[in-house]
């Protein structure tokens, strides 16, 4: 059996940042377990730029962003195992994992950081009707084929869903000579970042069809076309609006789901909105000593925020090992109110906060000239004016600890005040 102070599951941006921070905080016996052949996670296939504006104040590509962390990890001599799959984690932090060299391993960890990331929703999750030919890909799978393996997935493409990966792939496919006929989006607004809509669709004259969806897939062996229809306010297709788009490929960018099968197996409590673990201010789950960060907790749109959150998880995992995390602190619960879909963290043990309370959240709709109102036990603590709020763009709020530490408040709520666009 192997023994480590901290085992980090996943060597993507979340796992790397958490491990590095834990090491910097004095923990030497750390192992990262990564299932792919290299570190860096999904960043390695994101060869476009736009990463690192917040953390490094410069624009990096995905692999460039990952490289900075991988180099630091190596200079800090943090141990990692590649091509290694965790099969199971128990409540008392026993991990079983396999790879071709070490075979079947049992690893005892004092603390665990879950950083497994997320996966894409497949066609089946949407019950898109039609035949089941080749040529239907999730956007990320297509991205891997094109950017990592050097193969094209199609010539005439329709994209369903305007999430960031879908938008990025619309541009990438166009640059590779494919014709992207349209991007259809079920909602009345895009789920992607505004800058991606401008740079990936508008700049290439690719139409974005809001309030549209795919109602049929045609073709026996390979996709021959998809039928797109307009949807009403209940997102039901409107009869008579169907239009056939001849294409050989349908790309899906219809959402990401945190990968929490290992977490559930360990008995970790999940939030039914985020599909990720419920966490406290230290990014610790309901099981003491098991932390989680990055897209396994909730899907982020910027890797910079993943890094920030994971640094917090790594630092607190180190504190846990050093027995510096306070268990019996006064605890505040957070609650998403009107217009807010969820808030991370779910629970705040005030004594463990340093200077600020950092909260991540998403809104439920598109708002113009609105404000985020933060209340403590019903009393307004802070109001933040927002010109624009959209579900596709995660909001981060920092509240000075002094604002909430003085009185024994029991809950913090956030709500949106303003008009739905």
């Amino acid at each position: 059996m192997l023994n480590y102070d901290i085992v980090v599951i996943g060597g993507g941006p979340a796992g790397l940042a958490a491990a590095i921070e834990a090491k910097k905080n004095g923990i030497n016996n750390i192992l990262i377990i990564e299932r792919d052949k290299e570190l860096g996670g999904i960043l390695q296939q994101c060869i476009h730029n736009g990463f690192g504006l917040h953390v490094f104040k410069e624009e990096l590509t995905g692999p460039g962003y990952a490289e900075k962390f991988i180099n630091e990890l190596k200079s800090l001599n943090i141990e990692y195992k590649l091509d290694t799959m965790v099969l199971d984690i128990t409540e008392d932090k026993m991990i079983s994992a396999i790879n071709t060299e070490d075979g079947f391993m049992e690893i005892k960890a004092e603390a665990v950081v879950l950083a497994m990331g997320c996966r894409e929703r497949p066609r089946g999750a949407l019950s898109i009707p039609g035949t089941r030919p080749a040529g239907v890909f999730t956007a990320g799978t297509a991205q891997r084929f094109i950017n990592m393996e050097g193969y094209m997935v199609g010539k005439k493409v329709v994209i369903l869903g305007s999430g960031d990966i879908g938008l990025i792939m619309a541009r990438r496919l166009t640059l590779e000579g494919a014709e992207v006929k349209a991007v259809a989006e079920l909602m009345s607004y895009s789920g992607g970042l505004t800058r991606n809509i401008v740079q990936c669709l508008d700049d290439f004259d690719i139409p974005l069809l809001l309030s549209h969806t795919v109602v049929d897939i045609k073709g026996k062996d390979r996709v021959e076309g998809v039928v797109i229809a307009k949807v009403d306010e209940n997102k039901k297709p409107i009869p008579g609006t169907e239009k056939l788009y001849e294409c050989d490929t349908l790309l899906l960018s219809v959402g990401l789901i945190p990968e929490n099968e290992l977490s559930s197996g360990a008995g970790i409590e999940l939030d039914s909105t985020t599909n990720g673990p419920k966490v406290n201010e230290s990014m610790e789950t309901n099981i003491e000593g098991i932390f989680a960060c990055g897209n396994v907790v909730h899907v982020h749109d910027l890797v910079d925020y993943v890094t920030e959150e994971s640094i917090r998880a790594g630092r607190n995992a180190a504190k846990f090992i050093k027995k510096e995390l306070k268990k019996d602190s006064h605890t505040i619960n957070t609650k998403a109110k009107d217009g807010i879909r969820y808030i991370i963290p779910h629970e705040i043990r005030v004594e463990n906060l340093d200077n600020t309370l950092d909260m991540f959240m998403r809104v439920t709709d598109v708002y113009r000239d609105a404000k985020l109102v933060i209340k403590a036990d019903g009393e307004i603590v802070r109001e933040i004016k927002k010109k624009h709020l959209a579900p596709g763009e995660m909001e981060r709020i920092k509240i000075p600890v002094k604002d909430i530490k003085n009185n024994n408040i029991s809950n913090i709520t956030v709500e949106v005040q303003g008009k739905v666009k």
């Binding site: 039609g130 080749a134 997935v153």
Partner: protein, 478 residues
């Protein structure tokens, strides 16, 4: 010249081939598709029915009741997942209760063991998620669930291990009577055989009409399904039926042998020329959903991982057609094998072997027949066995499919076996990579790499299923 040629590599054809390979015969299976188990066999409810449903005296009743008890042995021999979990037919009103009594009486006549009508309390005790307005149920403890395409594939592999030749990608275009048997013309070649067994599923009538008078018609009937993620498995431990109606056994909710939940099917009669139309349609899939919730209201459809449809071969005669053709001696039809066809398959195969034996004087047994077909499922092994296996072959230490923890070793096995996989879907149906919640998003590219390497093919030539179902369309600019 073959002794026996079987047309169609579905569960019926493969079962007959495997049973016939116990004798010294020169046998071939001719299949139009690029893979075995690619028709009705790959897309049905995968239920081994108790046998109470079919009308006493019919072939359906006979073969179902005989077939059901045969599953234990054959599934053990072939390492095919089979679980005898029992079924419930629910009643929600007095009329339904009358139907249950009828089914019960039929069951007694069909000699189905241990069936009973249970009251509401017992139903709720067995399955607490069943809707409160249930008033009773017919419980059939011998009903089960099986890996339907896994069974057909295992039978083909085992048949091939025992000398049966598998001729894929050969669509039968015509059959001619010759002096000592038949000449089968496919799109690729001429195949001669003394006996021909027609197991062509939804095309069985077309095959029959090539050589004999039209005595039956196949009516294609499509059914659509949902598969839910394993995290939905809590909703039921039994196969849950509603009362049968004129459309068939109705929409069921059941666990699958892999721990998912299956919901379906509806029943939609297709036109004669629509036998390959396997699309799902929003109206029908919605009907399935709205009907299923009458059994269990809180089915978590948001956990759907895929939908599919299958076309069933409904005979216009109302019963299975299993007999030598009147006007074509040596040509045996095994046709119209709709539900309970899968449940009946082992007994049908045995019966057909008897038909062949009757026509061969002194048919010798194949002393080398090996009934075993082994299959390693890494995830189901103990940790000691896992450790041992990786030591022996490190490829079992590399997980390719993250959702189902399928290793490279298992994928290589599925390709290297006799009658092994040659397509992405073929690998999926044998070893299950891509059958999980991400549906191949992560493992698809890696399965293709392994297929290309093992088959010594360019990765661009690897197909999903049919010969034209290319996944990649060329290289990127570079």
């Amino acid at each position: 010249m073959y002794n026996v040629v079987i047309i169609g590599a579905g569960v019926i054809g493969n079962f007959i081939a495997r049973e016939l390979s116990k004798y010294k015969l020169n046998i071939a299976i001719v299949e139009k598709d690029s893979e075995v188990s690619n028709g009705t066999t790959k897309a049905n409810s995968a239920i081994v029915h108790g046998g109470y449903d079919a009308k006493p005296g019919t072939k359906m009743a006979k073969f179902n009741s005989e077939g059901n008890p045969m599953f234990d042995k054959v599934c053990k021999e072939l390492d095919v997942p089979f679980k005898k979990i029992g079924s419930l037919v629910l009643a929600f009103n007095d009329e339904d209760m009358e139907t249950l009594k009828e089914l019960y009486d039929r069951g007694i006549e069909n000699k189905i063991p241990n069936i009973e009508i249970i009251d509401k309390n017992k139903v709720k005790e067995m399955e607490p998620n069943i809707n409160d307005d249930v008033i009773g149920a017919l419980y059939s403890p011998t009903a089960g669930i099986v890996g339907a395409y896994e069974l057909a594939i295992a039978l083909a592999e085992n048949a091939a291990d025992n000398g049966v030749e598998l001729i894929l990608n050969n669509e039968v275009k015509d059959i001619e009577k010759i002096d000592d048997g038949y000449k089968i013309l496919t799109n690729k070649q001429e195949i001669k055989s003394k006996y021909v067994i027609n197991c062509a599923g939804v095309y069985a009538d077309k095959i029959n009409n090539m050589v004999a008078k039209e005595t039956f018609k196949i009516i294609p009937k499509r059914g659509q399904y949902y598969i839910l993620d394993k995290s939905a498995s809590y909703i039921t431990n039994h196969v849950i039926f509603q009362c049968p109606n004129k459309f068939g056994k109705g929409v069921l909710v059941a666990p699958t042998v892999h721990g998912n939940i299956i919901v379906g099917p509806d029943s939609q009669e297709l036109n004669d020329d629509q036998r390959d139309e396997l699309q799902t349609t929003s109206d029908n899939i919605e009907y399935v959903r709205n009907t299923a919730v009458k059994s269990i209201e809180k089915i978590p459809f948001n956990k759907t991982i895929t939908n599919f449809s299958g076309v069933r071969a409904e005979p216009d005669t109302g019963d299975f057609i299993i007999e030598e053709s009147q006007d074509a001696k040596g040509f045996i039809n095994v046709a119209g094998i709709k539900s309970p066809g899968l449940s009946s398959a082992p007994a049908i195969a045995q019966y057909v072997v008897e038909l062949v034996k009757e026509r061969y004087d002194g048919l010798e047994k194949n002393k080398d027949f090996n009934p075993r077909r082994e299959m390693i499922v890494f995830n189901e092994l103990s940790k000691e066995k896992k450790a041992e296996l990786i030591k022996k072959d490190p490829r079992y230490g590399r997980v390719i499919c993250r959702c189902e923890n399928i290793t490279e070793g298992e994928i290589v096995d599925s390709i290297r076996k006799n009658a092994g996989a040659t397509t992405v879907d073929g690998v999926k149906r044998r070893a299950r990579p891509g059958a999980g919640r991400c549906q191949g998003g992560f493992c698809g590219p890696r399965v293709m790499e392994i297929l290309a390497r093992e088959l010594n093919k360019d990765i661009e030539k690897i197909v999903k299923d049919g010969n034209e179902s290319n996944i990649l369309t060329g290289k990127t600019k570079s």
